[in-house]
């Protein structure tokens, strides 16, 4: 707790964000990716049971569809209707959950059903999204990764399978431009697209019983990061010291649907240093929280 602590202390007290990343110049920053209006937006609404709907914006995985989902979620979150609970985006759909008890009380005298009412409320908001010229921002998040060794026990296997050297696998993995389409499966787990098929590898026949949090893996043509210690069958090629899920942060997940991700290779010493600083920052922040 000596060198660099004062720096970190300042960060810890003035920010609730991802201090570690900022301090280490692995920055989370915003760039404006596209600014056109959403005039081509089309959707269909389906019931997801009696307390949620799925708004479908297309059939395939595509950046344009992701953008429409982001805009729609934004419109609804900024203008929530009575009984609205939350929106959950995925590849081609946006789920909107509502409180049936609240809407039952509001809708008591109406002739229209609750589902129809909810559809109307959502359509009004989506139509507003059409007319408003929007500036959509996309975040780019750099994730430092220590590849191979004890952190990436399957790196050699992935290399052998694809007729590459381990360095080539790292180079290909780290030069990719990844898009987060959804967060799910586990808290903070990103479903990402954009990995090169050159480094694809099937899941393990027998899943590992424990995979440490931060492990970066490959399953088929997908790459992902385990936010928590969990069992899993992905081929592990490296590990990040960055925490992907932290209940004390707002939002608790580092990555959000629509983010762009880049992997930055780091040596073992850097991994250890970042890991230690992360825990220092954490204990500092905890102390701050305790004092309040």
């Amino acid at each position: 707790m000596d060198n660099g602590v004062s720096d970190l202390h300042i960060s810890a007290t003035c920010s609730t964000g991802w201090i570690l990343i900022d301090k280490m110049s692995y920055k989370v920053y915003h760039i404006q990716l596209w600014t056109e209006g959403m005039s081509a937006m089309e959707w269909t609404i389906h019931p997801l049971g009696d307390s949620a709907v799925l708004i479908e914006f297309g059939q395939e995985i595509h950046g344009d569809i992701l953008g429409r989902i982001q805009t729609a979620a934004h419109q609804i979150e900024q203008g929530p209707f009575p009984g609205w609970i939350e929106c959950v985006p995925s590849y081609t759909t946006l789920a909107v959950y509502y409180d049936l008890a609240v809407l039952s009380l509001i809708n008591r005298s109406g002739n229209t059903g609750i589902y129809e009412t909810v559809c109307q409320l959502i359509e009004q908001r989506l139509l507003m999204g059409l007319t408003q010229e929007k500036k959509q921002q996309t975040r780019v998040v750099d994730i430092p990764v220590c590849y191979g060794g004890e952190y990436g026990p399957d790196l050699q296997l992935v290399a052998d399978r694809n007729g590459l050297t381990t360095d080539q696998v790292i180079q290909i993995h780290a030069s990719g431009d990844y898009t987060v389409y959804a967060i799910g499966f586990a808290p903070g787990f990103p479903y990402m697209g954009g990995m090169s098929p050159q480094i694809a590898a099937p899941r393990k026949q027998t899943p590992r019983l424990t995979i440490p949090a931060g492990s970066v893996g490959i399953a088929g043509e997908q790459t992902g990061i385990y936010p928590l210690d969990t069992p899993g069958g992905w081929q592990l090629i490296g590990r990040t010291p960055v925490r992907l899920f932290d209940p004390k942060q707002t939002p608790p997940a580092l990555l959000q649907s629509g983010d762009k991700v880049r992997f930055i290779p780091i040596p073992v010493e850097e991994y250890i240093r970042l890991g230690q600083q992360a825990s220092n920052v954490r204990s500092q922040a905890d102390e701050e929280g305790g004092r309040r």
Binding site: P47, G49, I61, Y115, F185, A186, P247, P251, A253
Partner: protein
Amino acid sequence: MSIIVEKPGLLTTIQDTGRTGYGKDGVSITGAMDRPAHMIANWLVGNTGQEPTLEITLSGFAVEFTADCWIAVTGGQLTPVVNAQLLPMWRPVYVRKGSRLSFKKVESGCRAYLAVAGGWQVPSVMGSVSTYLRAGIGGQNGRALREGDILSTSSGQLMPPKLSIEPDRMISLHTVSWQVSSLLLPSQTGKPVIRIIPGREWGDFSTASQQSLLEENYRVTPQSDRMGYRLSGSLLELKSARDYLSEAVAHGTIQVPADGQPIILMADRQTLGGYAKIAQVISLDLPVMAQLAPGDYVRFEMVSIGEAQQWYGTWVRELHVLRRMIEQKLKDLHS
């Protein structure tokens, strides 16, 4: 006041009405599986309904009370006993210091709820105290209760009862002469008919599979838990095999993986699912589902979304009346 856990039982967790608002972060909602039982237990001890209760699964749970307090047990009939005396469910009960509450035998249902006046004192994580076992957050350090755990209560509104005789330490509980009518509660028979509405991929299933779901019995397998009920019965097959992109699911979504055996997603479900959704259990019947135990059989009946929502509305209004009646009865306790 506090309780000391003597035996944790099969699975006992601290739950409230769930952790909403973080679905886009991949966070499961969790919360009490049988919401009405959880809320009514709270109302019966003068709480608002938002306070945490203990969700007790099947059998084996036992605790000791370190002070006199009001409690209520609702949900499945798991034969709660205070010392040697049967504890009446669905009503407020005043238990004495040093009493031991245990759950002896499963008569019907699967989950009981134990509420205490003031509610259990647990730190809130992301707006809820619900135990989220998979992520290790909420409740008692993110885990199920263990032997030796001590749970404290927040101060409650409900005053001690006026006892006709001086407190006798030999009498371990004092109760009221009324209880919540079972007519108001979802049916708790061993072979319920669960009402469903079509899922988004209902039409992708073969006509034979659609018929099977609506006409045959499905059995709850031992692999069922708070995440989902895995059923076994006639195979449910798609007209033609295909992959679906993962998308949001809901409490009560019936999804069908490649083995053709349906899974009903429950409180601890993941936020997204990649299997075909054949149907969806209506909200009104989720508490019925939550009280099914492994080995129970279930049948399904298709209804319309309009009907499902209308019935729910009626029931919500009945619950409001019930709540007001309970509040009045509790006031009478002190007058």
